[in-house]
């Protein structure tokens, strides 16, 4: 049963991720990303991280992707430009990708492999529940957590300031 669920989630996650970059229509790419995020949530459930799975669906699939879909549906039909939008993109992208891969490999080799075995890691009761995650966030990782929320707040305020510079025409009940 767990194997079936794992492979369903893994195929969804990998297939979705490949479809995001392979599909031409941006709207379908966004939908593929949604499939990917839901599959990841399923994999989190298999790892007994219920809170992370729920947060993944609520925050990413439920809120962030709604904005993506919104934008893609409104400006979706625009043809892609034939030239590189960022100069040197074709050389930079594989380099950055390789760097990320190496970094992730170090992280996986450093920590993830010890749970590989016949039985896997022993999971304490309440692992991954909202209580456990809340304790970690508000006690052990309090300062990074608060720093991240401050950063997000600054980014949001900055976005509002940048958007408010242009004198916007008054919107009277148009389509969003």
């Amino acid at each position: 049963m767990e194997q079936v669920a794992f492979f369903a989630g893994a195929i969804g996650a990998l297939g979705g991720a490949i479809a995001v970059i392979a599909l031409r229509n941006p709207f379908y790419s966004v939908l593929a990303l949604v499939v990917h995020l839901f599959s990841l949530a399923g994999l989190f459930l298999l790892l007994h991280a219920e809170f992370v799975a729920a947060a993944q669906v609520v925050v990413y699939a439920g809120a962030v992707m709604v904005l993506y879909v919104f934008v893609a549906a409104y400006v979706g039909g625009v043809e892609e430009p034939l030239w590189d939008a960022i100069p040197g993109q074709r050389i930079l992208a594989p380099l950055i990708g390789a760097a990320l891969f190496i970094e992730l490999s170090i992280a996986v080799l450093g920590s993830g492999l010890k749970s590989l075995g016949d039985e896997g890691e022993v999971i304490p009761a309440g692992f991954g529940s909202p209580e456990a995650v809340g304790r970690l966030l508000l006690e052990r990782f309090l300062i990074p957590f608060e720093a991240a929320s401050l950063l997000l707040l600054i980014a949001a305020v900055g976005a509002v300031v940048l958007a408010a510079r242009r004198p916007a025409p008054v919107d009277r009940g148009g389509a969003a």
Binding site: L31, H48, E50, A54, V58, V66, A73, S129, G173, A175
Partner: protein, 333 residues
């Protein structure tokens, strides 16, 4: 089992039976709510409502279902084939999956819990599955290949992100007072004290207003505003595909009422012996559904900018303030 940790896990066959019972009860309830709504709307508008099919019009929903089932499965040429067919199914999936966490009682006779599942993430489960229903509306509207449908889908997207935050924040006060995310625990926490609707009255109001918006019910039915958008995201749908959207709206009403009844109105607790519990719960759900119908008959539809400013400038600050005040009071007492 691979699913989330449950507060009380039964044997697999009991889970299957429970799912079937919940499904049967709610599917039986939906046509009754439909008839209740049409009858009540009639009375609110000083007319009789349906009274031709069967005694006192009681068989009207049956006639409606037969009509929907017997319609031709029509698909417009401009529609995107697969997405167009998946969309109504997603809405139904999300509505039925959310029904699972509505508790009709605690663990009875020591072996069966009177709820679908009691997950540790509790109410977050409802929000997670609620986000799937958005994709049902959006895909339906986008893939129909029609401007009206597209407008309706875009409106539902904007409405959903504006009201979901207030809805979550409104429940946070109750969660802090009860110290649990589980609906069963929250209902039990109200057994010996007053219902949370009294200390959390602001939260209750915000939750209900946001609930009207989340279920696309009047006065927040802008995604399907029939006066301007024909029928919004479901303009191009007919037959039972339209029926799915229609049924999902009523099931979501039951879900929102059920969550409100469990979190604010004491759940299955009420006077009388214990076996009355599920009946109390059902009665509370029906009272809240009558509130939905009453509001539909009373209030006109909001304009789009009014909807947005109500969500962001009134409900969100109010909900945040409610959470802050509750947090301070919970820590102090």
């Amino acid at each position: 089992m691979v699913a989330a940790d449950v507060g009380f896990a039964e044997a697999s066959w009991i889970m299957v039976v429970k799912s079937l019972v919940i499904f049967a009860v709610i599917l039986g309830l939906v046509p009754m709510i439909l008839l209740l709504e049409r009858k009540l709307l009639g009375r609110f508008q000083a007319r009789y409502g349906p009274n031709r099919v069967g005694p006192k019009g009681l068989l009207q929903p049956l006639a409606d279902v037969v009509k929907l089932l017997s319609k031709e499965a029509y698909k417009p040429d401009a529609a995107v084939p697969i997405l167009w067919a998946i969309a109504p199914a997603l809405v139904i999936l999300s509505a039925t999956a959310t029904l699972a966490i509505i508790p009709f009682g605690d663990v009875a006779d020591g072996n069966v819990g009177l709820y679908g599942i009691d997950v540790s993430i509790g109410i977050l489960y409802a929000f997670a599955f609620g986000s799937i229903s958005f994709y049902g509306l959006l895909l339906g509207g986008w893939s129909s290949g029609s401007k009206y449908s597209f407008m309706g889908a875009m409106r539902s997207a904007a409405q959903l992100i504006s009201y979901e935050i207030s809805m979550g924040l409104a429940l946070l006060g109750v969660i802090m007072m009860a110290g649990s995310l589980s609906l069963v625990d929250i209902a039990n926490a109200q057994a010996d004290t007053i219902w949370y609707v009294i200390p959390q009255f602001v939260g209750f109001l915000i939750f209900m207003v946001a609930g009207f918006a989340e279920t696309n019910r009047p006065p927040f039915d802008l995604p399907e505003a029939d006066a301007e958008l024909v029928a919004g995201y479901n303009t191009e749908y007919g037959g039972m595909r339209f029926g799915s959207y229609f049924m999902a709206e009523y099931m979501e009403m039951v879900v929102v009422s059920g969550i409100a009844a469990a979190m604010f109105l004491g759940g299955w607790h009420g006077p009388g012996p214990d076996w009355l519990g599920p009946i109390w719960m059902l009665a509370k759900i029906m009272v809240l559904i009558c509130l939905f119908i009453w509001v539909r008959a009373t209030l006109p539809r909001l304009r789009y900018d009014q909807l947005m400013s109500l969500g962001w400038k009134v409900l969100l600050p109010l909900a945040t303030l409610n959470v802050l005040v509750t947090a301070v009071l919970v820590v102090v007492t």
